[in-house]
Symmetry: C2
Subunit: 360 residues, 2 copies
């Protein structure tokens, strides 16, 4: 097989050893005589796979025992509703940090269920910098504070955890989870669609402090109550078993790489290389303020936008694919999650330098 | 690899040619240089896979053009809420046919959103037969009529479509879809979790008459509105791409088998063989009334229940696995979906006869 470097924002690259093991085990897992896709979720083989995946994730993130891990469906977009439905807990106000297009979608959905106060709003700066923030800007009546630590589309990232006092802090970590060590105890709830740094699309991981799950809004669908899944070890109904298994292989691979401290160093190096190449050129640009640049999603433009189509076509021919920016913002974007090797980032930089030389 | 005959009710067996193709293509699909799991759902490769899957499903079921096909997440359990949230359309009453444990769950969820009238109720008969029914028993104020054509746990099946006049008929077809030809035009909405007759867990297929989707209840989460997915070709957010791809391989396999007419004949033969073996023995029993026995899920008991554990253990040793009945009803159950070959059913019957001889 000839593999490419795939810079897709998600679904995104998976580590090659994970794909190799998945391929070898596809028709029959170990001595079970069946594919993981064919296993009853209540059988002992799949239970063992599921429990090992959770144990490895707990180890990687050092998740405290009073936090539960849920393996759900529906992506971050369903969490945009589940968070207010479960965490308002009788209140009707919540604080949101509006820092990019994904925050905006979370805000829009929350407004169906409560009054939303924007503790900070980066939209007037076109989501290129984070406004100054301190906890005195929070609404004292907010039931929780929601933010998006890494904005996948805008390439804007928090490199510190916002101080929210004793309010539950809720984070959409879809595009940053597992990219570096994390202090889970600072959060009330963390959620992440799997398809960037965890595994295949169709799995959503929720890490929730268990005391926050017992008071969903009346009328909440049973499947949208965290408590339903918490009380049933994520097996109230059939979970996305194959995606759960692949996620487990990814967690094992992360441990083999040295865990999240090692991944964090590697990710920081990859991002630094790519931003340096952009900043040192007269040809490319990145609009995001230096302290808030994402390690995971690097949007960039060509100063002469007429060259973008040629850039994307030639990059593809060179085996560097899915570099188009999100359809809502245009330009280019290189998503460089855990599974993107440093060699892939180097290949991109070489291509960018060569393209600039030929077209500059 | 040594494969077993897997009688799991779901996730369930997949056709071997599907697993073989999935294995071959796992690290790199065609000339794309990437796994299907790694593809952007908005890239041209995945769009081609997705569109082909839908086209093949439409062909198999002869789906009329005024019906839309949605590829969703959350399983039948999420549909239990989505159906009333979307189809009450300003009304507050719905009719349900209560014919087994899955119907009961659908009823319980619907009661969160409306008054439920049980047009028939098989619970007094312990879900072993279908009470007589005619459309005069329907509530004239019902916004729709919901039923479960095949009860996976109880092994009870409708072999004709209930007459509901001009009311939208809604069906949970999780364990019967694609098992035989179907007249989709008789329905308002059909839904099915994939993990029995379609593909891997984590995908839910909805076939809906498009005029029914425009009036969700206020406060319905965006992700729970059919219209959201209909307006975005099931790509409002990232769909379960790999499960969608595997489902497409299953649809192609079904076409190669001769389509649903051929599958229906094969499934009827498989079920008839197994019921004959049960009925002809003094050793085994099945409680379901003859006209309503399921072609897909065959529960059976041993007249001496002390032998059940030995039966299950010896069957497993013989390569016949996942034969335990649902934990709510006990006994045994053989799920014999499309992917279970006739040879698998024959092997089970031979084992059953031999076990009866040795223990009778």
């Amino acid at each position: 097989m000839s593999r490419v470097y795939n810079f897709s924002a998600g679904p995104a690259m998976l580590p090659e050893p994970v794909l190799q093991q998945a391929q070898a085990e596809l028709p029959a897992w170990q001595s079970s005589g069946m594919s993981v896709m064919e296993m009853s979720h209540r059988g002992k083989e799949f239970i063992a796979i599921a429990e090992q995946a959770e144990a490895d994730l707990r180890e990687l993130l050092a998740i405290p025992t009073n936090y539960k891990v849920l393996f759900l469906q529906g992506g971050a977009s369903l969490q945009f509703a589940m968070v207010p439905l479960n965490l308002l807990r009788g209140g009707n106000e919540a604080d949101y940090l509006n820092t990019g297009l994904w925050s905006k979608k979370a805000v829009a959905e929350a407004k169906k269920y409560c009054q939303v106060h924007l503790a900070i709003n980066a939209e007037p700066n076109n989501f290129t910098t984070l406004p100054a923030y301190d906890s005195s800007k929070l609404n004292p009546y907010a039931a929780y504070v929601h933010y998006t630590p890494n904005e996948t589309i805008n390439g804007l990232e928090f490199h510190t955890i916002p101080d929210v006092g004793d309010k539950p802090l809720v984070a959409d970590m879809s595009s940053t989870i597992l990219s570096r060590p994390l202090d889970v105890s600072k959060y009330g709830l963390i959620y992440a669609g799997a398809q960037k740094n965890i595994g295949p699309a169709g799995l959503t991981i929720v890490i929730v402090r268990e005391d926050l799950t017992d008071n969903a809004m009346p009328g909440t669908p049973t499947m949208l109550m965290y408590k339903t899944h918490l009380d049933n070890q994520s097996m109230y109904n059939t979970p996305p078993t194959y995606a759960w298994y692949i996620a487990g292989l990814v967690f094992k691979w992360l441990k083999d790489q040295g865990g999240l401290a090692a991944m964090g160093e590697r990710n920081q190096r990859k991002a630094a290389m790519l931003y340096a190449a952009i900043d040192q050129s007269e040809f490319y640009g990145n609009p995001v303020a230096l302290p808030y640049r994402s390690w995971m999603n690097v949007p960039f433009t060509i100063k002469n936008p007429d060259l973008e189509k040629t850039f994307l076509a030639e990059a593809k021919t060179a085996g560097l694919v899915s570099l188009a920016g999100h359809r809502s913002v245009g330009g280019m974007r290189a998503s460089i999650y855990n599974a993107m090797p440093e060699a892939g980032v180097q290949a991109l930089i070489e291509f960018m330098n060569d393209f600039a030389k030929r077209n500059g």
